[in-house]
Symmetry: C2
Subunit: 314 residues, 2 copies
Amino acid sequence: MNFPTLSDIRAAHDRIRPFIHRTPILTSTAINEIAGCEIFFKCENFQKVGAFKARGAANAVMKLTPGQRAKGVATHSSGNHAAALARAASVAGIPSYIVMPSNAPEIKKKAVKGYGGEIIECEPNLKARETTLEAVVERTGATFIPPYDFMDVIEGQGTCALELLEDQPDLDIVMAPVGGGGLLGGTALTAHYLNPTIKVIAGEPTGADDAYRSFHAGEIIPQTGPNTIADGLLTSLGKLNFELIQRYVDDILLATDPQTIEAMRLVYERMKIVIEPSCAVPLAALLANKDRFAGKKVGIILSGGNVDLGKLPF
Amino acid sequence: MNFPTLSDIRAAHDRIRPFIHRTPILTSTAINEIAGCEIFFKCENFQKVGAFKARGAANAVMKLTPGQRAKGVATHSSGNHAAALARAASVAGIPSYIVMPSNAPEIKKKAVKGYGGEIIECEPNLKARETTLEAVVERTGATFIPPYDFMDVIEGQGTCALELLEDQPDLDIVMAPVGGGGLLGGTALTAHYLNPTIKVIAGEPTGADDAYRSFHAGEIIPQTGPNTIADGLLTSLGKLNFELIQRYVDDILLATDPQTIEAMRLVYERMKIVIEPSCAVPLAALLANKDRFAGKKVGIILSGGNVDLGKLPF
């Protein structure tokens, strides 16, 4: 499999730059004291659509041929990829068809509609999502842009670590959460190219630990019955993503939901920024394994800030 | 009364610069669209101690004589000034004595203790605060640093608008919330010096509208029985502050609590930052008076982010 090269990732960055924010890196003296290391938070909660997903979606849409553009794009997603794809399509002036489970959070449906995406509802299971999507693609001729198991999306997500390491080249460790593995795969690839001595460590919830189990088994073990507050990390690893993780990720650390809620509260209280639970998992995993990080410079990608404010776990 | 000159405010900025953050200015396309004007948010929620109060307290402490320093500082405050003074004293290596009402929020007590301040509890009324403070000052010889009705504090708070107008000199309007009037007074003074054509407009809750009533009556009408979610704006205007407001503030606009909560939610959802209710009052007042701001460039000082996460009003 030919993964994107560093030139590819840089080209993706040039391609999407007009459509995304270069997000800031924030630090907190108080959190550094608690953690016993120096943390640089790459704030993708401030990204367009409130999540790093804006990168991969924009990259995939901007790479479409004129013929593909004419018919639009489609995907199935309950989360940030849905809004990200709808927005990227809207920016490109093409239609988007988003298959969403009927129980998707209202805030995420609102976001998709706000960007002019057409929502097609389905039963809340993977089978229904896939068959509904197939029907939509057949009807419209739209191009399917998968949320993570797709090279152009991984390439786009890799631009986040590119910015992080441009701004802060002397990191010892980079951390990202892992769900499907789009962000983690892109991050690991970029870090590998820019500085192979940087350790890449993922954070994953104990209630959806398929990446952890797959990583140690050496083969993909799909997630069944995920149970965690980190609602962006429920899906199973993608194939391309797993290959990247096997090659370039150094470790996957777990965090329980109470640990994740505590880390989330710390970020709200000390940094005064809004993050979604999935986003707090790497910090929670770090705090649960402080010895591993003592005295290091650690970049943590805060992946998004789309949380239902009426249901904060505090 | 001799108010601080522009040189005084610039000198205050130099004096406190090592001890405060130069906070960022954030913008939101989505909020601009809703508001019908261009808003530049000066994010003092990212300030040390989570509020602009770090400025005035640092300025007052750094201006003490060596003799005064030796005996420390004291104040009565239920809020951000308490933490700000304790921190400024801690940075200066001197003791601080903070009189707090027994019903002050736990998070604010924790902050004061965290900075090494000594808390002296009293009954939750102004009389008890004042007599307890007098006793503390008598016992310790500490210098009383009032929260807002004090020249060195106003001078320090004026440094916030200094940064805002350095970074964004072409504003038509600057807005700040008004409680005791320290931030508003300092802001109005700085704006007046830097560009007298800039309008300065305050936001105040309808449930604690003494500044509005005083402004229109031409004399201080103290606040009795305040009733608002904006817990940083409960106090009555100070004398110095009122004089500044009469001279340099163009208008005071009111916002109801539901309007404030809606504005607060907008900031959390669209900007992904944590602010306290008091902080959302100017945006709420703007949104309730959109015609006044149509097409203008408006600077809004987001005064602080110290909110009890367990009691968010969403």
